[in-house]
Symmetry: C2
Subunit: 203 residues, 2 copies
């Protein structure tokens, strides 16, 4: 039972990947990239430290450009991030070998988040199962599991070398002469997993 | 890390209990009863077969009577089931030894189901974590896990000896001279777990 799991190297997507293994799934981590930067390497590095298989799926640059336009129009990145995430799930789900897709979205996330009709639509259009291991967990539960499992580095997102959509979106904004600080909220804290704190089996 | 998990003996609440153990939690199964019937014994029997600790928490009969009035007024049990489930979670969460409560509610359930504000309210009012291991799983994922793990008996709910809220609600309706068939949809399929199909650790 193989699951293709969207992976940024952060603690949420790492925790979700671990939960999938605990449920008996084989987990292939997938990081999406638009080919602007090679920041997917941070996710690959973390995947290797945690012992997971990892691959990169490239999405068309037009998706990032459309997302950037949305972010500029809104003055806020939420709709752009949501847009990218939906396209990333669709790209993954449309691969012929993929039967199950997964991500690290949480109950308390505003974006990215697929509501029930969208989640079902993804499953029906691509004939896949869509699994969100963190959806039923609140922040306290996620924190207690994460603290037990992972060595985590936490910094402001602008500083942190990581592999989420935001990094290439910020880069493209800068290329167009727009300071990302006008779009992204200040002081947004991001995390990156550096390795296991204890053995994943816990027995 | 102890979780008190609302348990009916059905496959959803059994699967959720198994997931909790896989996440490293100690799991105490709890079946609520209004003291009308001893159908909680079916849940206890299944809990013992699966190797979990089990206890019964009695709720005031007024809750069941109010739920019955709701069901009669609506001509449908959904609001009544929702009402009972919220009171059950609150009763559990209010016990002094309880830090984490859990249930087997699913992404695709209409009732019982706590929306995000209600889930957060439960956590805040009682200072507990509320964990729903099945919330991020669709019916296909639940089916593939359940089929791998459990020997399950599936029947029409009227026939099946089980320990969910519905059984005492139907009983109280009959006591008041009301045929439950006028309230509950026909052909509602229920399940009861009889035991493990394979070892819970799967290693």
């Amino acid at each position: 039972m193989l699951v293709h799991h969207l992976y940024s190297g952060g603690k949420d997507s790492s925790l979700a990947a671990w939960i999938l293994t605990r449920l008996g799934y084989d987990v292939e981590l997938v990081t999406v990239s638009f080919g602007l930067l090679d920041n997917w390497r941070f996710a690959k590095e973390t995947a290797e430290r945690l012992g997971f298989g990892h691959q990169v799926v490239y999405l068309p640059r037009e998706i990032l450009e459309k997302a950037m336009e949305m972010a500029i129009k809104d003055g806020h990145p939420n709709n752009a991030i949501q847009f990218i995430h939906e396209r990333a799930l669709e790209a993954l789900a449309s691969l012929p070998e993929v039967e199950r897709v997964s991500d690290g979205t949480r109950r308390d996330d505003r974006v990215p988040f697929l509501d029930l009709p969208r989640a079902r639509s993804l499953e029906d259009r691509f004939n896949v199962s869509y699994i969100r291991p963190l959806l039923g967990l609140g922040y306290r539960t996620i924190r207690e599991l994460t603290e037990r499992l992972f060595v985590v580095e936490i910094r402001e997102s602008e500083e942190l070398q990581k592999a989420d959509y935001e990094v290439e979106l910020r880069h493209l904004l800068r290329e167009k002469g727009i300071d990302p600080i006008t779009i992204f909220p200040r002081g947004h804290i991001q995390s990156r997993v550096l390795g296991w704190k204890e053995e994943p089996g816990m027995e």
